[in-house]
């Protein structure tokens, strides 16, 4: 436990339990009172407060993990504001008020003007009114019986579902950041697909709430009942700035018998400037539970942002014949650090998992793949295939691969392949000699390298992801 936490824990009860605070923000720092206050502010039921308090008390006993291959200054957890009421982003009157750097990025990404306005929070005209889009969207989902709302709303309106599944995949005791998140989360998404329903459209956070600053500790819970299926998109390619440096989200997925969840992320958080100053620390716990037989959970991620990424979307394959997949592209440039990968835990019989990881390092960045495949003693006939490829751009970056295998059943088959390649002078010269410019060459090489992952993304996401990588690598070679 850090000394500052200790100091707070041991200090006398100072502020008392205040109920009628006028301000929208509570003071910096974390204590049991703060946790109570967050819960109270959100008018949460007693069980929710209990959940948070248990998490908080457990968190106090934990220490920050240090095994990841990343380094960063000590985080002062008492220097963080843990609750501020959702406040609307500042509306801008026209695109002229938007940061030109942001506009340039939008143009490079090929984002249509209407969408640019929405992302930059410029008032939009009637035709492209996001509210009407969102309304149509909601009606369609309601018809199908799909619940898609903020986690806070779900706690109020669907307490029985939240109570049943929250923390069932990532218990509060799971790890340091998960415990912290469980204690103080204020925002996130909830999604429930009833039995037999194929969600009529891809669910995107983009449509859910866009006029509020996202929370620092997001909590997402997706439950797919028997024989249902859903595809969920998180994030967007537009650069995301945030004044909060530490982000510790928790995402939990539950798939019952024959259910299918596809979770795609394109993440482009602010990574700091070229010298690595500023930038977001993204410490995320994402896990899916294939609870039922023949269920399937597939993670696809394109990670390009954050100063530091610590993230392992994982699958627990409990149901017999269940399938877990992880497709990842992680790109680091300048001084970014990423330690990302997955865990596939095979418990049920004939469970299968596939891991395709593509790491691209440029500049002075450090990119590590960390993956664990664990085959339990009862996982008869389990199979895993892992492929981890790294690409280095320039002489000053690093790529590492840390595979962990634990096979507890003799009938299991586990395959692991790894490769490292370089975009070097010879390759660039080959393209140049065929009349192809360096930017096009890099984009072609990178796309080729990431093809197996990009094909897993929904179409429009894939196109944007391609452009995003090009943009991120601008000027890295030659």
């Amino acid at each position: 436990m850090s000394s500052s936490i200790q100091a707070v824990v041991s200090q006398p009860y100072k502020h008392g339990f205040v109920t009628d605070i006028e301000s929208d923000t509570i003071p910096k720092g974390l204590s049991e009172d703060v946790v109570r206050l967050i819960s109270q502010k959100k008018h949460e039921p007693e069980w929710m407060l209990e959940f948070r308090l248990k998490a908080y008390r457990h968190w106090l006993t934990m220490t920050e993990p240090s095994w990841a291959n990343v380094s960063y200054p000590t985080i002062d957890f008492q220097d963080i504001v843990y609750y501020s009421a959702p406040k609307p982003k500042k509306k801008l009157a026209s695109m002229d008020e938007v940061d030109p750097e942001l506009i340039r990025t939008f143009e490079k990404l090929g984002i249509p003007l209407s969408e640019q306005k929405q992302l930059a929070n410029v008032a939009v005209d009637v035709v492209f009114d996001s509210v009407s889009v969102a309304t149509t969207f909601k009606e369609k989902l309601a018809e199908a019986g799909v619940i898609f709302c903020s986690i806070s709303e779900a706690i109020q309106k669907h307490p029985e579902l939240v109570k049943k599944y929250l923390g069932s995949v990532v218990p509060y005791s799971d790890n340091f950041y998960a415990a912290l998140n469980s204690a103080v989360f204020t925002d996130g998404s909830f999604c429930f697909i009833p039995k037999g329903v194929t969600c009529p459209m891809e669910l995107s956070t983009y449509f859910r709430i866009n006029n509020e600053e996202s929370g620092q500790f997001e909590r997402t819970l997706i439950v797919a009942e028997e024989a249902s299926s859903v595809s969920y998109l998180e994030g967007c390619t537009a650069p995301k700035f945030d004044t909060n440096q530490l982000h510790a989200a928790v995402v939990e997925l539950v798939a019952l018998d024959d259910a299918d969840i596809k979770y795609s992320t394109v993440q482009n958080w602010y990574a700091g400037d070229e010298n690595g100053v500023g930038g977001i620390f993204n410490f995320v716990t994402k896990r899916g539970l294939c609870k039922g037989k023949n269920s399937k959970i597939s993670w696809t991620q394109v990670e390009t942002g954050s100063a530091i990424t610590w993230k392992y979307p994982s699958c627990v394959l409990l149901g017999d014949n269940s399938v877990g997949e992880f497709y990842s592209v992680a790109l680091t440039n300048h001084h970014q650090q990423a330690d990302t990968g997955t865990k596939m835990v095979h418990i049920g019989r004939n469970t299968r998992s596939t891991i395709i990881s593509k790491g691209i390092s440029a500049g002075k960045s450090n990119n590590s793949y960390r993956g664990q495949v664990k085959i339990g003693p009862k996982a008869e006939g389990a199979r895993n295939y892992s492929q981890c490829d790294s690409m280095l751009i320039g002489p000053h970056c690093q790529a590492n691969t840390f595979p962990y295998l634990e096979v507890g059943n003799p009938t299991a088959k586990v395959e692991h392949e790894a490769s490292t390649s370089k975009i070097g002078e010879e390759q660039m010269f080959y393209f140049a000699q065929r009349g192809i410019g360096s930017e096009e060459a890099i984009s072609m090489i990178i796309n080729g390298f990431c093809k197996d992952v990009f094909t897993q993304l929904p179409m429009e996401f894939a196109v944007e992801a391609t452009k995003l990588l090009e943009l991120k690598l601008e000027g890295s070679v030659g």
Binding site: Q433, G435, N447
Partner: protein
């Protein structure tokens, strides 16, 4: 086939170049006109490959003196891409593999880069498909190769055929073939040579850089140059190649007092 008034495609005068500060080319002189096939032969380390890379604009080589005019322009005013688009082609001794990028997509990008630079129409994927299906016959290539990743998992012979296919697509005015015969079995050598011969026209030229005479049985050069220690020491007709094959290179050195 050589017209007396043929245009000069390449004119190299007193070219010197070094790599990592070590001088490799020490005064190259060479003139190539339209319709001609030239061969540069020489022992290992004579600077043959360096010469071809300097022409193509490889960044590791530093030109330290002399001049090269290509199609009437100062070659060194152009970067590597511009040289390629202006019609200078290098068939690589070791072609690069590009995983995940289909051969067809790569060829089309190269074709369109050149077309755009020369004010010609670019081809969309369907038009290009018609175009490329004709071209692959030049090197007797199975269309399945078009869908495979560029050079990935290709045999040595397939890679070299692929280089000649690129030449067929780009229709360069000067094709420099750097050790294209190395690592080829007899069948592949025949196919590659056959391809090059089909692509040789009165308005373009070929420069073969090779170690061995056997390629010249298939592609008949008009001129054979012997390169030793960064310079051309002797020039002759195709019979010179046979003489080199039987006598080696030392007599050339001795003949000019090196």
């Amino acid at each position: 086939m050589i017209a007396a008034d043929a245009r000069v495609i390449l004119e190299v005068q007193n070219l010197t170049a070094s790599v990592n500060g070590v001088p490799i080319l020490k005064g190259m002189n060479l003139t190539i006109k339209a319709g001609e096939i030239h061969a540069i032969m020489g022992p290992n380390g004579s600077g043959k490959s360096t010469f071809s890379k300097v022409l193509a604009g490889h960044p590791a080589y530093e030109v330290t003196g002399g001049s090269v005019r290509f199609e009437g322009k100062d070659l060194f005013e152009l970067n590597a891409e511009e040289r390629a688009r202006a019609g200078l082609f290098l068939a690589f001794q070791y072609p690069i593999e590009i995983p995940g990028v289909s051969n067809a997509a790569f060829l089309r990008l190269a074709y369109n880069a050149k077309a755009a630079a020369n004010g010609q129409d670019e081809l969309d994927p369907l038009e290009f498909d018609d175009f490329i299906r004709e071209k692959i016959q030049v090197v007797e290539m199975d269309p399945a190769f078009l869908d495979r990743s560029v050079n990935e998992g290709f045999s040595g012979g397939e890679k070299k055929r692929n280089e000649i296919l690129q030449m067929a697509v780009l229709e360069p005015s000067l094709a420099v073939l750097d050790e294209t015969d190395s690592g080829l079995d007899i069948d592949a050598l025949r196919i590659v040579s056959n391809g090059v011969n089909q692509l040789t026209k009165p308005d373009n030229a070929v420069l073969l850089v090779t170690h061995y005479q056997r390629l010249l049985n298939y592609i008949q050069p008009d001129y054979v140059h012997v390169m030793v220690e960064g310079r051309i020491l002797k020039t002759g007709g195709k019979e010179l190649a046979l003489e080199l094959e039987s006598r080696g290179y030392d007599w050339v050195r001795e003949g000019v007092g090196v």
